[in-house]
Every structure is written in structure tokens, then in C-alpha cells.
């Protein structure tokens, strides 16, 4: 294996935006998550909680509500007053319709899925009809005095509960008039000057309305008479979200202190038929406000300002008690936001609205295993490139030679040429990009930096020839058949002959770049691809999937390699399959064809294909034993998967030149240190 010099990089100031709303779709077992910067991400919960698609954000879009409607249609509404529909196949926004009520605070789809209700800033509740290709305004309900902050349909679709400031109104859908107006106390058993904001309402089929408000109360109301039935004080701060299960026997609420409470309908005594709502479990998995919760049939989902997405499966609902019932926390991105130029030791960091280019530092000292070497030259922040316009950056890439930078937003594509003279760097933009290159899902440069491969969101793959300061469009591979399953990933072989593209349900397509035609297709697998790379010399395509399977496919032979077949026959070690985070980057050692370098957020692994594979009984995580152990022992315990957990949480790991690695880490405390302030916690003695 040999020793490596590792550049430990911690100057990537990556801070994800907080989660604002989640929406769970039962039929497809998918979760749509909307963040405060307008990004909407779709997680496939059955594919090991992998983020398969995302829609980039926009500065003026402040999404406040997200919901699924009939037929897998996703709608969102925000403070810019518009209702947007997302096209999950074309991965763009179908249309944005202004509701003309001012900023929209809440949105709910009817139980039948054919109508959409929005609550606006001016106090009006508007009903929209969902037509096959658009939505159409139907009518307004009675206008209320203050902004409508939460909405809920009765399961039969006849009544609506709307939570506002200091009161809750119940509307009759047919007439559109307010039937009841229930005044909410500003404080549990007391008076207060601060208005009580009803953050969430839920309407149950027996006519009970559950409301959560900013005074920390959960209240049960009877909608037939318009009276308060029960009131629970559960927090000292706001209770900001509520979600009810489909069977209506449990619901979950999230508070501003980071606690998530589970309420269940339990019988009063063990054999009575009378039931009551009881607060059963508190969960403290967040440090900041929990702004949104969702209830799937088996799990509680919560997300908030501290940017974590937490899935807590409920033990009584889970059928098989295996690793699937464990807590899942998604903090780090499932895509690679960093690209590396190996020749010049440059790293390109992608943020939401700008790119940063850094040159790695260097050292002349040497040491033995485990030493920290002092830097003789510090890392250099070379470039801070701000994007024009309010849209977020979708993807970016730097060429291996370091002279081209390309990035794409939804509407434009940018290509820059970099010139290095001595220690200075100068940037020149290539103007007049063609229209078909915009809204690229993935950008990749070839190894010799003469070609640029762009996967656009229409499904087409474009090859652009770069020469000097200009470019020329060579060829466009048209979209293949098969529905779009996930974001497109690209991989190019180091000799420039082969290009692999994933993303459709048909499998991974491999194209011959020189002859500009489709070479072969790797058979489809039912889990999405998380990372791909083509090995030098042997031209083996290594693919990793979200269920932690690794496949190796030989492109010239058009079949899986022998090693891959052996691995599949034996199966992976159970601890390998139980890892939480997907593999996001694969690289190879140019001089050692038997090694594959992989990493995910919490470990870094070198797979040595020459060594035997571990079976379930051997120890998977087996750090290099000390040299005074006998060789026999070492040979017996050595297996193909050399895992290192020294550097974590890892965002990126790559092999630069022989014997040098770069590891970009992002400690969790650095992210938490930059999110909005939390609620004060009073502890005895402080």
C-alpha cells in the first residue's frame, strides 16, 4: 500500500441552507424537501434514503409550503406569491402561477388530490382546480382579518381549518363561508402581549382540529361546536409543525427547541373502547428549530434550521427489526461539490452563488506514519467567482490542467479560461454560449482538457471541443429511452475514448467518443447510481449504487469483470452494506491497476482486488496492524477492503499525484456554528 502524504483541507466553508418544508408521498415512498434558499430535493426512501433529484434554488423564491397532488405532481408556494409546479421527468419547473393574494403562507392539497388550497398574506383562502396540465383558479373563500398561516382539509373534503394569528377559522368548502371562528389563548393559563401565531392545524375525520401555536401549546378543538376540548403545554417556545399519520392514530409535532413529540391515540384503560390522545415519546435529534415534520407509515421525519434531515422509524410499526429500524440523519450532500485539478493542485468549491478556487499548500518536511507536517507554503485563495443573477449554481467543474472552469445555472452556462503567469491568475470569459448548453445537470472535462462533456436536462449529452480560447460543438447524443430516474452522472475514460452516462431507468449508457455512437448499456439495476469512474488502461467502469453495491464492468468486453462476479456471488460484508452515507467519488491509482479508491462521508476505502474478499465473520474495519506483529497474522487478517476512518466527515477525497492524497473535511460544529440562533436552554449551574 505504501504511505501517503495527505492534504487535510478544512477551508471549504460549506453551510447548507436550513430545511423549511417536507412533503411525504406514500405511493412512491419519496420525500420532497424544500430548503430556505429555494432548493427542492427529492429523496427516495426505499433506495436507502438517497437524494436522487433536486431543483436548484432561486434568491427571490422563499418557499413556505410544499405538497404532492394526485398523480405524483409536486407543487410549491412561497412568499413571492407564486404557485410552482415541478416537472420530475424533465427536472425543471413547469410553470409558476401568481395567486394574486400577496405572499403565500400555506398550501394544502385536497384528499382527492384534484384541488389545491392556498392561504395568503391578505387573509384570503383561494381554491384552485388541478387540471391535467395546469392549475386553474376556482374561487375565493371568505376573507379573514389576518394572514392565513396554516391550512388543513377534512378527510372528506367538505371542511377546511385555517390557522391565523390569534384565531382558527373553519370554512365550509361548498359555500366558502366561515362556519366557526375559534379564538386561541395567547398563553396557556395566562395573558400575554405577544400575539399567538397558529403555526399548524390538522383536521381529523371525527371533526377534531389539532392546532399548534407559538405559545407552546397543542390544542384539540371540536369543529362541530367550535369549542376547545383539550390543551397541552409541551414547550416553552413555539411549536412549529404538525403532521398526522394516515390512519389518524398518531401524530407528530416539532418544537423550536429541537424536540419532536409523538402523540398517540391510546385506550384509556386496557380494555375500554374510549381512547384519548397521549404524548408518548420525545425525541431530541435537533439543536435548532424543527420547522417541519412528516409522518410516513413507519417513520417520523423532521427537518429544521440546523440543516439535518432526520428519519426516526417507529419500532412498533417496523416489520423486520434489522438495521432499517435505526435512526437516519442526512447532513452532508449526496453529490460531489468539489472538483480537483491534479496537475496544478487546485480545488474548485461550489457554493450556491459563487465558486472558490484554492491552491493547496506545500511542505518540504518529512516524517513517519501519523505525523503532522508543518506547511512551508499556505493554501492560497486564488479566485472568488460570483455568479450573475439570482439563480443557484447547479454544477461546476475545473479541467484537469486547470485552465478551464465551467459552471451552469438554470438559464445560463458559463465557461472561463484561466491564465497563470508566475503566481498570478487571470480570468477570461468565453462569451456567446449556445442555448442548448444551459441548465446542465453535469459537466465534465476530458483528461487532456480538450473536450467538454455536458449533460443537459433535456436528456441530451453534448460534446464540445475546446481549443485555445474558443469552443466548437462536436456532437450531441440524443436522449435515450427510459424515464429519468435520477440526476445524470458522467464519467470519462482517461484516454478519452469512452463516456459513461447514468440517470435513466434503462441503465448506464456507454458511448464511444471517437466514433460518436452508443457502444453498450450496462444492465439496469433497481437502485440509483451514486458514483461512477472509468479506470485507466483497463477501461473498467466502476459503478456504485445507493444500496452500497459496487460493480465493475469492462467496457471493451461489454460484460462484468470476473472480480465483480466474484464479489456478487459472495456478497458484501454486512457492515459494508449497513453504511449510512452513499459513496460520492471514485478514483484510481495510475500505477496500481488493482486499487480502487472510494469514499463516503465517514470513511475512506481502498479496495485491493488482488487480496481475498472478507466474509461476514472477518473484521471489516481492520486498520493497519503494528509492524511488530508476525507476518502470518497480518496475511491472515488482510482482506481487500482497507478502510480508514481517520478523516471524517469527508466531503471529497482524491489521489493527486503518486503518494499524495487530498481530503476535504467539514466538521459538523463548523456548520452548526453558522446557522441562525437557537432557543435558550436553561441549565442548572450555568
Amino acid at each position: 500500500m505504501g504511505e501517503f502524504k495527505v492534504h487535510r483541507v478544512r477551508f471549504f466553508n460549506y453551510v447548507p441552507s436550513g430545511i423549511r418544508c417536507v412533503a411525504y408521498n406514500n405511493q412512491s415512498n419519496r420525500l420532497a424537501v424544500s430548503r430556505t434558499d429555494g432548493t427542492v430535493e427529492i429523496y427516495n426512501l426505499s433506495a436507502n434514503y438517497f437524494q436522487e433529484k433536486f431543483f436548484p434554488g432561486h434568491e427571490s423564491r422563499a418557499t413556505e409550503a410544499l405538497c404532492w397532488a394526485e398523480g405524483q405532481r409536486l407543487f410549491s408556494a412561497g412568499l413571492n406569491g407564486e404557485i410552482m409546479e415541478y416537472d420530475l421527468q424533465a427536472l425543471n419547473i413547469k410553470y409558476a402561477m401568481d395567486a394574486f393574494g400577496g405572499p403565500i403562507w400555506s398550501m394544502a392539497a385536497s384528499p382527492s388530490g384534484s384541488q389545491l388550497l392556498v392561504g395568503c398574506e391578505d387573509g384570503s383562502v383561494k381554491l384552485f382546480q388541478i387540471t391535467p396540465d395546469k392549475i386553474q383558479f376556482e374561487r375565493n373563500f371568505d376573507r379573514q382579518k389576518s394572514r392565513i398561516l396554516s391550512l388543513s382539509w377534512h378527510p372528506s373534503g367538505t371542511h377546511i381549518a385555517a390557522g391565523s394569528i390569534d384565531y382558527i377559522s373553519v370554512f365550509d368548502v361548498k359555500s366558502g363561508s366561515a362556519v366557526h371562528k375559534m379564538i386561541v389563548d395567547r398563553q396557556y393559563m395566562g395573558v400575554s402581549k405577544r400575539k399567538c401565531i397558529v403555526w399548524g392545524v390538522a383536521f381529523l375525520s371525527d371533526g377534531t382540529i389539532i392546532s399548534v401555536d407559538s405559545a407552546g401549546k397543542v390544542q384539540f378543538w371540536d369543529s362541530a361546536t367550535g369549542t376547545l376540548v383539550k390543551s397541552h403545554l409541551i414547550a416553552n417556545a413555539d411549536v412549529q409543525s404538525i403532521a398526522v399519520a394516515d390512519q389518524e392514530d398518531s401524530f407528530v409535532v416539532g418544537t423550536a427547541e429541537g424536540t419532536v413529540f409523538h402523540f398517540q391515540l391510546v385506550p384509556v384503560t386496557s380494555n375500554s373502547s374510549e381512547k384519548q390522545w397521549v404524548r408518548t415519546k420525545p425525541f431530541q435529534h435537533h439543536t435548532h428549530d424543527v420547522r417541519t415534520v412528516a409522518h410516513s407509515p413507519t417513520a417520523l421525519i423532521s427537518g429544521g434550521t440546523d440543516t439535518h434531515l432526520v428519519f426516526r422509524p417507529l419500532m412498533e410499526k417496523v416489520q423486520v427489526k434489522n438495521y432499517d429500524a435505526a435512526l437516519r440523519k442526512i447532513t452532508f450532500p449526496h453529490r460531489c461539490l468539489i472538483s480537483c485539478s491534479k496537475k496544478r493542485q487546485l480545488l474548485l468549491f461550489q457554493f450556491a452563488h459563487h465558486l472558490e478556487l484554492w491552491r493547496l499548500g506545500s511542505t518540504v518536511a518529512t516524517g513517519k506514519n501519523g505525523d503532522t507536517l508543518p506547511l512551508s507554503k499556505n493554501a492560497d485563495h486564488l479566485l472568488h467567482l460570483k455568479t450573475k443573477g439570482p439563480e443557484n449554481i447547479i454544477c461546476s467543474c475545473i479541467s484537469p490542467c486547470g485552465s478551464w472552469i465551467a459552471y451552469s445555472t438554470v438559464s445560463r452556462f458559463f465557461l472561463y479560461r484561466l491564465n497563470y503567469e508566475h503566481d498570478n491568475i487571470s480570468l477570461k470569459r468565453v462569451s456567446k454560449m449556445p442555448a442548448f448548453l444551459r441548465s446542465a445537470l453535469q459537466i465534465l472535462f476530458s483528461e487532456d482538457s480538450t473536450k467538454l462533456f455536458v449533460a443537459s436536462n433535456q436528456g441530451a449529452l453534448h460534446i464540445v471541443q475546446l481549443s485555445g480560447g474558443s469552443f466548437k460543438h462536436l456532437h450531441a447524443f440524443q436522449p435515450q429511452s427510459g424515464t429519468v430516474e435520477a440526476m445524470c452522472l458522467l464519467a470519462v475514460s482517461p484516454d478519452g475514448n469512452w463516456l459513461a452516462a447514468s440517470g435513466t431507468s434503462a441503465g448506464v449508457h456507454v458511448y464511444n467518443v471517437k466514433q460518436q455512437k452508443l457502444h453498450c448499456t450496462v444492465p439496469a439495476y433497481n437502485f440509483p447510481v451514486t458514483a461512477m469512474a472509468i479506470a485507466p488502461n483497463t477501461n473498467n467502469l466502476v459503478i456504485t449504487h445507493s444500496d452500497q453495491q459496487v460493480f465493475e464492468y469492462s467496457i471493451p468486453d461489454k460484460q462484468y469483470t470476473d472480480w465483480s462476479r466474484t464479489v456478487q456471488k459472495q456478497g458484501f460484508h454486512h457492515l459494508w452494506l449497513q453504511r449510512d452515507t452513499p459513496i460520492s467519488h471514485i478514483s484510481f491509482h495510475p500505477k496500481r491497476p488493482m486499487h480502487i479508491l472510494l469514499h463516503d462521508a465517514y470513511m475512506f476505502c481502498i479496495i485491493d482486488k488482488s487480496l481475498p474478499l472478507p466474509n461476514d465473520k472477518t473484521l471489516l474495519y481492520n486498520p493497519f496492524p503494528p509492524t511488530n506483529e508476525s507476518d502470518v497474522v497480518r496475511r491472515r487478517t488482510a482482506h481487500a477492503f482497507r478502510i480508514s476512518k481517520i478523516y471524517k466527515p469527508l466531503l471529497f477525497m482524491d489521489l493527486l499525484v503518486e503518494r499524495t492524497l487530498v481530503a476535504v473535511e467539514r466538521p459538523l460544529n463548523d456548520i452548526i456554528g453558522q446557522v441562525p440562533p437557537p432557543i435558550k436552554e436553561k441549565k442548572f449551574g450555568t
Partner: protein, 257 residues
Amino acid sequence: MVQLRPRASRAPASAEAMVDEGQLASEEEEAEHGLLLGQPSSGAAAEPLEEDEEGDDELDDEAPEELTFASAQAEAREEEWRVRETVRRDKTLLKEKRKRREELFIEQKKRKLLPDTILEKLTTASQTNIKKSPGKVKEVNLQKKNEDCEKGNDSKKVKVQKVQSVSQNKSYLAVRLKDQDLRDSRQQAAQAFIHNSLYGPGTNRTTVNKFLSLANKRLPVKRAAVQFLNNAWGIQKKQNAKRFKRRWMVRKMKTKK
């Protein structure tokens, strides 16, 4: 001590018996007072005052002036009439001023509005085209004007009514420039509301540093706060120091040579 006003008596002879304790401010006031009391102020009643005032300074024993009742009465009446006149004049002056001001305002307002003909056309056009538009009542009034092509998105075609050009020679189109500003200001107001309700005064928030350092405070061996160093302190000072150091080094090198 309370100064009592001397009572005006009918009989002039009782003037001598008057107690001259109080002093009235002026003769007129006395006359008015007498009038208000409904008693004819006798000349004799006025007399002793004069006598008193003068009597304090000089001890001359002059005979008082003889004023007839009628003349004094006439004088008093004249005074009264004069006062009433001034008040009336003031009132009429004010009234006139107000009237003039009102007229001036009406004229200015008229000047501000468009000529009558155009207004008529606008109102008739909007009457025929008003659709049921959701939202505030204000918007209905504002929607009498057309939207500029650049501002209007495709999605707005459904709701905004297009007004046919109103002028006779069709050389201009009324344009609503405040549209985007209104939207932005409403969005800002909404975001300010959320910020205030979650992070504003009255909410119990603390800094992230304090929050994360709570655990450190309770350890058996107390540790420092998580973000102990404040790197943003004195940036200018540090920069100046760095620059000075560089220049000093250069100078040192030069002098060494």
C-alpha cells in the same frame, strides 16, 4: 389676604363710607363690571376709585369730577359696541381666509388630475371590462392602467385586464411601474414578520456559541467556549500592523546594505 372689591352702591353718599381696601385694575374694567352686574355705574362709584388711586400719592382734597350718568352710560355702550365689532370683523376675516384657501386647494387638485375628457373615457372603459379579480379592493382601482410589456409575465395574462389605449391620438399607453416594487415590498414585509416572530424581541434566543458551550460549562473540568476566539476583532488594526511590519523589514534591509 383676599382683596375684596368695593361694592358699587347706588347712593353717592355712601361713597365716603366705602372701604378702600381693594384696588381695581382699570376704570374700564370697573365700568364693565358694573354693567355686568346690571347696576348702572354711578359716577359717584367711579369717583372714589380715582380718588383712592390718587389719594395714595397725594393727599390733596380735590373735588371729584362731575360725570353725568348718561354720558358714562353712553361711553360704556360705545366700548361694548367697539369690542363686539372687532370680534365680528375678526370672524369674518377668518371666514374669508378659509374660503379663499379652500378654493385654492380645489383649483390645485383640479390642475393635478388629467383633463376631464380622458377621465371620462377611462371610467367608461373600466366599467365595461371589470372582471372578478381576487385580492384586495385596492387592486381593482389600480388595475385601470395597463401593464408594461417588459414587466408583465406570461402568467399574468389571465388576471390583468388590458385596457385599450385611451388617448385620442393613441400615442401613449398608461403603464404601472409600481407593480414590481409592490411585490418586493410585500415579500419583504412578510419576511420581516417571520423574522420578528421567530427571532425578534420577546423570543428567548441565544447565540450559537453560548448554546454549544453549555456542555463545556458543566464538565467536571470546565473547558473554554466552543468559539472562544473572536477572529473578527480588530481586523483593521491587524492589517495596519502587517503593513507596518513589511515596510519596517524593507527599511531594515535597505539600511543594512
